[in-house]
């Protein structure tokens, strides 16, 4: 293994700049746990499990895949603007250029704000990390000048595939339209499967190549913790940030309606069961704390290793880490 001190120094500098941005914006840094009793419900994620053993009594614990539930409990306790910079864990996600099963996540929540305010935060955050208005990533120039590009899912499907999502709202309709245009829908079992198969193969590779791109207003089915769009409830107030074809961050205008949230969690819990994933409880404290969140708020999770990978011009996430699991297992 090569331990590259130069990269470690560069990374350390970037981490300090991240913190300085939030200090300037008057956010409180909070420490969130790595081991939790109830992780977020995300139906498709595989979660690391462990046992706490006290005098032969076992309690199942999970390695957190996202600090989201904990952060919202703090919002409910009137903490105001907060951020956390921690390790998160996803089982099975290894290999390729952009995955390590443990990775550094930056999450921040802004009160009296919506997802559009978080787009500005992303632009300003990157400005704090680099003074450059243009960077080169893997021999490809990326223009960092703000404002960055903003394209809705509907616009992207129209642009690259000549398909309207809004006019193909059912599985049957979308399948028919996609197949008429010769898109591969093999093994797609529902509307979201077709969406992703087309998105991953025909849209994602183009994103953020010339300048960072915000992909916004995702179908509501793919945004369980987001507010619906006020203009068209088929879509929800969620965005993802792409730079150089790589997904960097995921943000929502947060849903704070506890009743609606509970209904969605029950649905997701059923789906986990159906997918034969580990089942865990619905976090009652989380639901209760939603009720005491007094303001509109928006939250975002950003993959720090991936952002650094782009700013340091590294092809593989492993090159930004001192102890990449992929290399250790090899």
């Amino acid at each position: 293994m090569i331990y590259d001190k130069k990269t470690a120094i560069e990374r350390n500098k970037l981490t300090k700049s991240l913190r300085s941005f939030f200090e300037k914006e008057k956010f409180l840094e909070v420490e969130t746990p790595i081991m939790v009793r109830i992780p977020g419900m995300e139906p498709h994620l595989n979660i690391f499990e462990t046992d706490l053993i006290v005098q032969n009594k076992k309690t199942k614990l999970f390695l957190n895949h996202s600090p989201e539930l904990q952060m919202k409990k703090l919002l409910g306790a009137n903490f105001g603007n907060i951020f956390t910079l921690i390790k998160t864990f996803r089982n099975g996600e290894i290999g390729g250029d952009t995955h390590n099963p443990e990775f550094t996540m930056l999450e921040w929540y802004r009160i009296k704000a919506d997802y559009k305010d978080l787009m500005k935060d992303c632009e300003n955050l990157v400005k704090t990390l680099t003074e450059k208005t243009q960077i080169t990533y893997q021999n490809h120039k990326i223009d960092l000048k703000t404002p960055w590009e903003k394209l809705s899912c509907e616009e992207l499907f129209q642009k690259y595939c000549k398909i309207s999502l809004d006019q193909n709202r059912t599985f049957k309709q979308l399948k028919k339209t996609a197949e008429e245009k010769n898109f591969d829908t093999n093994f797609c079992k529902d509307w979201d499967d077709i969406f992703f198969k087309i998105f991953l193969n025909h849209i994602e590779p183009h994103l953020g190549k010339e300048k960072p791109t915000f992909v916004y207003d995702y179908p509501s089915t793919q945004a369980a913790l987001a507010k619906k769009s006020s203009k068209n409830p088929f879509f929800a107030q969620r965005f993802e940030l792409y730079i150089g074809g790589i997904e960097i961050a995921n943000a929502f205008s947060e849903l704070t309606d506890a009743k609606e949230q509970k209904a969605r969690l029950i649905e997701e819990q059923k789906l986990r069961k159906k997918l034969k994933k580990t089942i865990f409880d619905i976090d009652g404290e989380f639901l209760a704390s939603l009720e005491s969140i007094q303001h509109n708020c928006a939250g975002i999770a950003l993959g720090v290793d991936r952002l650094f990978m782009i700013l340091m011009d590294k092809k593989n996430i492993d090159e930004t880490l001192l102890f990449p699991l992929n290399k250790i297992l090899n």
Partner: protein, 186 residues
């Protein structure tokens, strides 16, 4: 036609009118979506590499490809010549087909030839191979400017990054897919 749902590294598939070798396969859970397998596949005839994302559990048509041990002999610039270890038959492949693997080919090195319909179409190197370091600068303790690594030239002429403690004459293990240093070879 054999179908498989197990899209993994080393599998040969018939896809988009060609025969492809899966060189990388990875589970991805996009955003809030289901499970997909993102594969990097290499066309066994043209050597073109593309990425394609399959739905996890999707069946693909497995291609009939046989792997036969062979030995690299020499190249004359545009073609690379090999000999089958069992039949002693010689065959040649173009530089385009060999691609980046040429940096690890040196006289007598063993690898696999991938045969489609009995015809050698491509080669495959072992994932890790041992090479001798021919030249490298002595490592300097505490040198931060070089970031804990330095260049070393191996017997094939390729230059790779190695840790500072590696010396000329050392045998080292290299990951042939990305030309990265793995460890000292025993």
């Amino acid at each position: 036609m054999a179908m498989t749902t197990d899209i993994k590294k080393g599998l040969a598939i018939n896809f988009k009118n060609g025969t492809w070798l899966v060189i990388e396969a990875q589970f991805v859970n996009p955003g809030k979506g289901g499970a997909f397998t993102r594969a990097k596949i290499r066309n066994l005839k043209s050597n073109q590499v593309i990425e394609y994302t399959f739905k996890a559990g999707e069946s693909v048509d497995e291609a009939e490809v046989s792997r036969r041990r062979c030995q690299y002999l020499y190249n004359d610039g545009s073609t690379f010549n090999f000999m089958d270890n069992d039949s002693y038959e010689q065959f040649s492949l173009t530089a385009d087909v060999i691609g980046n693997d040429k940096r690890f080919l040196t006289d007598g090195i063993e690898c696999y030839a991938m045969h489609i319909d009995g015809v050698p179409a491509s080669i495959e190197l072992s994932p890790k191979m041992d090479f001798k370091v021919i030249t490298t600068t002595p490592g300097i303790k505490g040198d931060t400017a070089t970031g804990g690594s330095k260049d070393a030239t191996i017997e094939t002429g390729a230059t790779i990054k190695v840790p500072l403690f590696v010396k000329e004459g050392d045998m080292i293990k290299i990951n042939t897919s990305d030309a990265s240093y793995v460890s000292k070879a025993n």
